[in-house]
Every structure is written in C-alpha cells, then in structure tokens.
Point group: C2
Chain length 571, copies 2
C-alpha cells in the first residue's frame, strides 16, 4: 500500500480528519463525521439492500472473515435475534494462548509506527466500518433488539463518531509530549546540553468486553482508545451480540493488514455456551497475565468484580455499569414538551438504555405548569397518557420500542401489578405488549410507570433495567434534589435531568448534580433527549459515581493506556 512506512499513505488521506477532530474535541462544539441518516441519498441507492443481504449471507454459516485467527478448531455461536430467529452464525473459537502470543508479536511494529500513523490507520478502520453501516445496523438490530433506525444510528454513525473521538483523544494525549527536545541547563561555565527522546509505549494487551444492548457503541471507545495508543486488543463480545463486533474486528484486521501491520492487533474472542462450574470467557481473559487493560460495559455484578479483582491485579479497568437515572420535575412553562420528551426517553428501546430515565421525582403538592398547577397524581396521569399516546400506533411504536433483549427484561414487564405490589407501589401505567407486525416472536412492550412514595427507598434504589420507571412522590423539590444527590452517590447514575422554570432550583440542581457526580440535562422539551449524548461534546458517564468509573472520552480515559519512555544523552 505504501513505499515508505506502513500506514504513511493513510496518514496523508486522514491527516485533515484528525486535525478537524482534534479541534472539535478541544472546543467541544458540534462535530460529527458520520451522517446519522440511513438515507440512500447519503449512503447510496443500494446501501440498505446490500447491507441487509450481507447480514443475511452471514446467517446460518461459519463466519469466514475471521477464519485466519488462531483457533481451537471449535465453532461457537448461539445468537438468537430478540426479533425471533436464531442467527445461526458460527464463529471460530479463539485459541487464547496462541492469540495472546500473536498479539504480543504484533505489538512492537505497531508501537514503533508512532501515534499519528496509528491514528490514521484507526480512522481508516472507522471509515471502512462506516461503509458497512447498513450491514452492521442489521447485525445490531438482530442482536440487541434495537429498532432499525436506532440500530443504524447508535450502532453505526454515532458509534463511529465515538470511535473517532477516542482515537482523537488518544492522539492528542500522545502528542502532548514532544518526540524530542534539546535540554540546556545554564551553569557557571558552558551550559549542560542533552538530547531527550520521548517514546510512547503501550501498556500491553487490551481486552474489550462488549454488552448485549449496545454491542458497537459501547465497545468502540475502549477498542479504539487502546488500539490508538499502541495496544493490541482482544474483543470479547456478549454471547448474544457477537456479529456486530465480528464484522468490526474483521474490518480492523483487513485494514491493518493492508496498511502493513499484523492482523493480530485486533482479535475476536467469541464465547461458546456457558459451561456449568467453569469461569466464563470474560473472567478467564480478564485474569490472563498478559491482559493489562480492560474495558467493560454491562451489569454491575461482573463490573464490580472487575473493579475489585482485576484492578487488584494491577490491570487498568474502565467500566460502564448502570445506575439510577434520575429526573427531577419542579415546574415548567412547556408541559407538552416535558411530557413528549419524557415519553420518548422512556419509550426509546423500551428503556433498555443505560442512560434511560428510571426515577422521576415529583413533589406531593404538585408542580406549576403552563397548563396550571398539577398535583403529583395529575402529573402521573398526564405522563402515563403521553406514553400511551406516543405508542398508540403499534406499527409506528415498534420502530421506537424495538424488542426486549432478554428474559429478565421481559419478566419485569410481564406482571407490573405484581411488581408494584411487591415494591409497595401502585401501577400508574401498566406495560402494554405489542405484537410486532413483521416479527411475531419479538416481545415488544410499551413501558410501565409505577408510583411510589419517597419514603419507600428500597423500591426505587435498585436498577430496574427495561420498560419500568418510577414516579416518586417527594415532600418538595428540595427533597427531590436531596434524593438525587444521595441515591446517585450511593448507587450511581449515567444521567440526570431537571425541569424547572426557577433559576434557583436549576442552580440547586447543578449543585446536586456536581455533588452526585452526574451530568445534568435541564428542561429538555425538544429533540434532545437525556438518554443521548453527542460525541466530541457530551461526556458519556462521568466516572464520578458508581455507575461508571470512566467517561467517553476524556483525557483520563486514554492517558494511562500508554507510558512515556525517555532516553537522554549529552550533545
């Protein structure tokens, strides 16, 4: 591909992208490289059909693009679409020791290529991923259960923007230290002069542990942050969401090879069926001595284990788990906007986003609105009505709700009255099952709303992942903010949101959010939703509360993935 250093041609093509992205990251102004519309005008007339065909071709067969990985010879794969059909894709099982050795052998040349070449190669990988956005969207849809447009956007361009953000953050950080300097110390006689060379070296092998609901969006930041800083990466997808990352890994390997690097810099470790009494693959890989960096998205159980056990082994552990996403409602001059915005936030992917609101605090004596004073009960009715109305048309609703991802989530929504009773709350809105017009086996659910009293802390102080939210009756907005502060400090949250027309309340909310360590959205009544963060501008997570120990993508997310080795000599 190039007559000079491997990857140099890519540096020529992508240097400008890197500069633009670096500037965007510094200003945090709006920037997106990858168009979020799946429109044929953007991605090409045949893109949708081609993507769909490529996805279908992968089904019920051995996944050949990864046949060159070191393999045990066994094939694994048990993906079943939340929309019904089994995918039937069979992945080669990674021979862990051979994979680790291959990764190690691949590292020096990648390290020595330097930060900018690495960044350019990473951009090329992302560009090639972007070109296959429709295929990946189908894979994301049929592993996560996201509706199609969301699968396209969140699984495609939004994930790609986050990938580029991680590459950019990593590049900026690596370039902060110059390659070389002449150091001249004045003395009484001649100055002492030394040349000092600073060399970026990677930590070692990185592991990315993917999740079921956002296989690409949540895996890309860690994958690209580690790769861009010189570390080889093993990607361990969720057993039910392998294909989107298999496509990703195969693209990365192809681009790396074409640029003159070793494919073993990125490998997929697909997992077979769990074996009773045997550690899962994630645990085995996490404790492998060669693994130095771990990025994880998923439940707090295994995430907490990693934060304890893998961290105690000296590995860098970046987690995004879950928490009690919180909305404080105080007052509004746009009730319709509040209800519409919240209804969408609850409904999108049936609340199965790590950022979806769960706990909505409303004062018992009600709130002021542009439609008059509303009691807690009245607001509850209005919100329930908004959720119902938003999802009234089944055919349209499924395109927002998607499918429930697993039996746990489904069970939670199956008997909301029973759940409410167990928790000591009352049903404000029961979950409503919808039959998907195209996928009759999909379990699609309009979210439920359960009312509880603030005093009933156990009811709402654990994560209730999926289509159930709580409307919590508090003594006052001050009490709501206190609960935001205390519950998030203890249990974490990925998001928080406040509605108020009172500047003082908003200021108090900012204080509570700062104390709790959670990002705050204020008075969202339009087309921005608390669930969604924009790459290059919004941090995803804060790393300041128990929901996540890191944020996409600040300096702390990248700065420790590499180290600087100096060599100095007199000149």
């Amino acid at each position: 591909m190039t007559e000079t250093a491997p990857g140099a041609a890519l540096l020529e093509s992508h240097g400008e992208v890197l500069d633009t992205a670096s500037n965007a990251l510094a200003t945090r102004e709006y920037y997106s490289r990858y168009p979020e519309s799946p429109s044929p005008r953007v991605y090409g007339e045949n893109a949708a059909q081609d993507g769909r065909s490529a996805f279908e071709q992968s089904r019920n067969s051995a996944y050949s693009p990864l046949s060159d990985q070191p393999s045990t010879g066994t094939e694994v794969g048990s993906e079943v679409s939340p929309y019904g059909p089994a995918l039937g894709v069979r992945y080669p099982e990674l021979d862990i020791e051979a994979g680790v050795e291959a990764a190690r052998a691949a590292m020096p040349a990648w390290r020595d290529a330097g930060a900018r070449i690495r960044a350019a190669v990473c951009v090329e990988i992302i560009e090639q991923i972007n070109a296959r956005s429709h295929e990946i969207a189908n894979a994301v849809m049929h592993t996560s259960g996201q509706p199609f447009v969301m699968s396209f956007q969140a699984g495609g361009p939004h994930a790609q923007d986050r990938a580029l953000e991680a590459v950019t953050a990593a590049l900026v950080e690596q370039e902060r230290v110059p390659a070389s300097v002449t150091w001249e110390k004045p003395t009484k006689g001649d100055p002492i002069r030394m040349q000092k060379d600073y060399r970026v070296v990677p930590r070692g092998l990185a592991l990315v542990i993917g999740c079921n609901t956002f296989p690409t969006w949540n895996a890309y930041p860690g994958l690209f942050a580690s790769l861009a800083t010189g570390n080889p990466v093993i990607v361990k997808p969720h057993p039910q969401a392998v294909l989107p990352l298999a496509i990703t890994v195969s693209i990365a390997r192809d681009v790396l090879a074409k640029a003159g690097f070793d494919k073993a810099l990125v490998q997929l470790a697909a997992e077979g069926e769990p074996v009773e009494g045997r550690d899962g693959l994630a645990k085995i890989l996490a404790l492998h001595p060669a693994v130095r960096i771990i990025d994880y998205t998923g439940g707090p159980g295994f995430g907490g284990w990693l934060e304890r056990e893998a961290a105690a082994e000296g590995k860098l552990v970046y987690t995004e788990k879950a928490g009690l996403n919180t909305v404080v409602v105080d007052s509004t001059d746009n009730l319709k906007g509040v209800l519409g915005n919240l209804a969408f936030s609850f409904s999108l992917y049936s609340g199965q986003m790590c950022t979806a609101p769960q706990n909505v605090y409303v004062p018992a004596d009600g709130i002021s609105t542009d439609e008059g004073e509303l009691t807690y009960e009245q607001f509850g009715e209005k919100l329930a009505g908004a959720i119902s109305a938003f999802n009234a048309d089944d055919a349209r609703a499924v395109e927002i709700l998607g499918a429930t991802v697993n039996p746990d989530v489904r069970e939670r929504a199956t008997d909301v009255p029973g759940l409410a009773q167990r928790l000591g709350g009352e049903v404000i809105l029961d979950a409503r099952p919808i039959t998907h017009p195209s996928y009759p086996d999909a379990v699609v659910v309009v979210p439920a709303l359960i009312g509880v009293d603030a005093a009933n802390l156990p009811a709402y102080s654990q994560e209730c992942f999926g289509p159930v939210a709580f409307l919590i009756r508090t003594e006052s907005t001050d009490a709501s903010l206190d609960l935001l502060r205390s519950t998030v400090q203890e249990h974490g949250a990925m998001t928080a949101s406040v509605y108020s027309t009172d500047e003082e309340v908003l200021e108090d909310a900012r204080e509570a959010a700062a104390d709790a360590g959670v990002a705050l959205s204020e008075n969202l009544t339009g087309q921005i939703f608390v669930n969604q963060t924009a790459a290059f501008s919004d941090f995803h997570g804060t790393g300041a509360n128990p929901a996540a120990n890191a944020a996409y993508s600040d300096a702390a997310f990248v700065a420790n993935r590499f180290r600087i080795i100096t060599s100095r000599r007199h000149v």
Copy 2:
C-alpha cells in the same frame, strides 16, 4: 486579602508563573523556578542561619503551627536524626474522623474556586515553602540522613520544582475542557442550540503517604496534584520523617487561610509509635471510605498491598516503590568520565536513592575503552578504585554520602564479605565506614561492590537498598541487555543507564529500555547522573514497570484526580 473571589489576588501575582511553567511542561525544555544553590547571594545573607535556628527551635517541643488541627489530644513523635540526636518534636495526633469531616466541609468552596485560582494558591504555597528552604533542608537532613547540600537541593528547590510541575500538569489538564460552549447541531430546519457548561469536580479526600528518605521530594507531586485538582489532602509522613512535611502542611494551611479558604484542605496525620497487632496509620487511612486517592512512596511490600487492596476498593493508587536500577557497560571513549560518574552515583546518599544504580552488567570478556581493553575483573578494579578515590577524604566524603537512614541499611553494609558469601558472589570493594567529623553517632558508609555471575540471578534480582551494588559478569552486551529487559520487566526499575560507543548497541539498549518500560540515560560521563531527573523535562519513573505505577508528572498522574460534570440546556 482580596475584595473579589478568594485567591483572586494570587492569580494576579502568579498568572505569569503558571503560563511560563505550562509552556515549559509542553516543550519539556529546561525550566526551573527555584534556585538550587543554597548560596547567601540567592537566598539571603542570613537564610542559612535563620533556617538552622528555626529548625532548632522546633526541637524538643510541641509543634505549635499545627495546634489548630482537630486532635485526639495525644502528642506523637519519635524522630531520631540519622546523624544521632533525637529531634524531640511532638506533633498533635490527628482526630481522623474530625479531620475527615473538616476536609469534606472544606471541599465545595475549593472546588468552586476553579482550576486557575487553585493553581495560583498552590503556587503561593510553594513560594512560601521556597522561602523556608533552609529550615526544610535542616529538617530533611535530620530525618533522611541526606548530606546538607543534597537536603537543600532535593528537599528544597528540586522538590518545589516538582510541586510546581504537578500544579502545572493539573492546571493544563483541567483547562483542556472549556468552561462553556454553545453547541449547534444543524438540522433541516432551525439548528438545535444548546449551552453546555463543564465543571471540574474533585474525586474526594486524598491521602499522601510519605517516605523516610525523600520526605518532601516524593510527597509534593501527589500532594499538589491532588490539591490543585480540588481534593483535600491528608499527609501521612513516615514516622521518622515528619518534620519536613509538618512544616510544609503548616505553610499550606496558612496560605490557604490567608487566601480565604479552609485550612482543613491540608492536614497532617503524624503517626505514633507502632502498636503490636494494630494496623499502622497508613493502612487505617488508606482503607477509610472517604479516601479516594492515595499517593505512596516507599517499600514494595506496603506499596503492593495498596495496589491490590486499596485499588480493589476503587481508590486511585499512585505508587513509587523500588526496583533493580541497571547499568549496562559495553564500551566507552571516556573511561575516566564513566568511572567518575558511576562513583558519584553510587556514593550520593550512599545509594539510598530509589534511583541509585544497583546492577552493573559487564561482559566477561571485557570492554573497549580509550585506555585499552579491560576485562570484567579489570573494570571492577577500576570502578572500586574510583569509588574509593572519590571518597578518600572523609570530611569531603560525608558531604556526599550522608548518613545511613535505618538499621536495615546499616546491617547490609556491616558485613559485606558475609553478604557476598551468602549470595555466592565475591567482594570487589568492601564497604568503608567513616566517622562523621561533626556527628560521631552517624553511621556513614562508602558503598561496596560485590561481583556475581549473571547465572546467579537470585543474588541480584532483589532490591538491595543502600550502599551495596553488584557488578554482574555476563556473556556479552547482548546478554546484558537481555537481563536488563527481563529483570526490569519482572522486578521493575526506576532508572537504567548504558555506556557504549557503538550506535547499534545504543539502539539495542533503547529497544530493551522500551520493552522493559524504563527510562534510559546514555553515556553519562559529566555532571548529569542517572539518579537525578529534572522537573518539567525528565519523567521520574515511567509507570510502565513494577517499580512504580505512575510517573512525575505526566497527564495520567493528574487527569483522573478530577472529573467533569456537564450541565446542558437549550438556548
């Protein structure tokens, strides 16, 4: 002090310093703010005498500058100078729970002051520390056993430069994210416009655990990195090196109070006599739930415990422990320079620096020099001769050697022939005790040199802290470099050094150092020594090998001590 925000006047005074220091940190060119010469021309005619008097006045009395800390009412303190006399300083024992509460209460105002005000206040603290450099030098000398000039330089201006470096690194990192941005996303209709405010919030309470040999130099980076990023700090000195940090903490508290902040942002936790069967104070504080950040310098035992146990509790742990500092000798065109430089490196503070060389690899068939070929044995003789000659004059030698810091170190040097026999080596140069002309009780030792064969790995693959180094006979320079690589990867090192006239060997040494994750000094034959690193240019440690998990002061050292909390709203 100011009619506007607390600390604003300091920002006016120190803004330029911060800009200059930031620029120096970015370029890594030579920069030092605090003059290293203790000369009266620099620090004032009476500075030396005043400093000495201030030190003497602290002795044999209760340390009153910290009497306003929350105290248990007990006084603690058992410092005995390595030069002989007990210091007799009695410190108020910190009431931990009251201290933690006070620190927590102090945090919000410090957080809300913002990064630049905090940096300016930190600079003022360092300026005031600088003004008391002579007093601190006496305190460092009589706790660490360093010779006076080294106590002054390393304990004073060099430590202050490292403090300023940490403040600067912290400021740069906090200012990378703008305070506010207008984010404007184009849509088909009107663009979506949001204001996003980014707020720096601290992690929480920080703990700095000091060491005996470099009480200020090794404590300042963590102390100032945490403080500058908004975290209150409890400083837990080594029980035998309290006074230098007591002075430091009292200065910090005074400056903070004068700038309008709470003194409780910096507190001293002096430790009483160890109680059999009870955890030491460092362990108690490290496991306190309020403590979120720990900086530690000291032995690998407790350092490793922190890396495992405190890290598993989700605390950020920055350690500097110890390792096998390595010299590879291949060839030279300046034998005299090599010998003189190495003799100084071994002798300075009798090898009691975490950066002092321990393992010197020399090929069995010898090295080429400008004085002809030298066999391993001949080089050993020459090196032994150089160490002896360098320390021939007792009165001058003690000003380099200082005093041995503790019984462990003394014991190691007491019976070098016995040690050599146990290790299966031979004595090339026995340790030579010197009687200090002014301090007859000090145990002063000219370092010893033990010869061992490379095959005898156990002999030299553990740290031998203090005045004993190993001359290791290898098969070849390649073998020496392989040993550098493997021993440092396994056991760590703070420093490495190579002597060669062959560019290929130097290149191989750079590769070995990069693989091992240790900084390399090449052909040091003049007034720069492998033991010493320059703030703003050389990283101290790399964080890439087991000797230390962090480096003074790169982005990774500061970036995770704070988090960013966003609040966003439509505009």
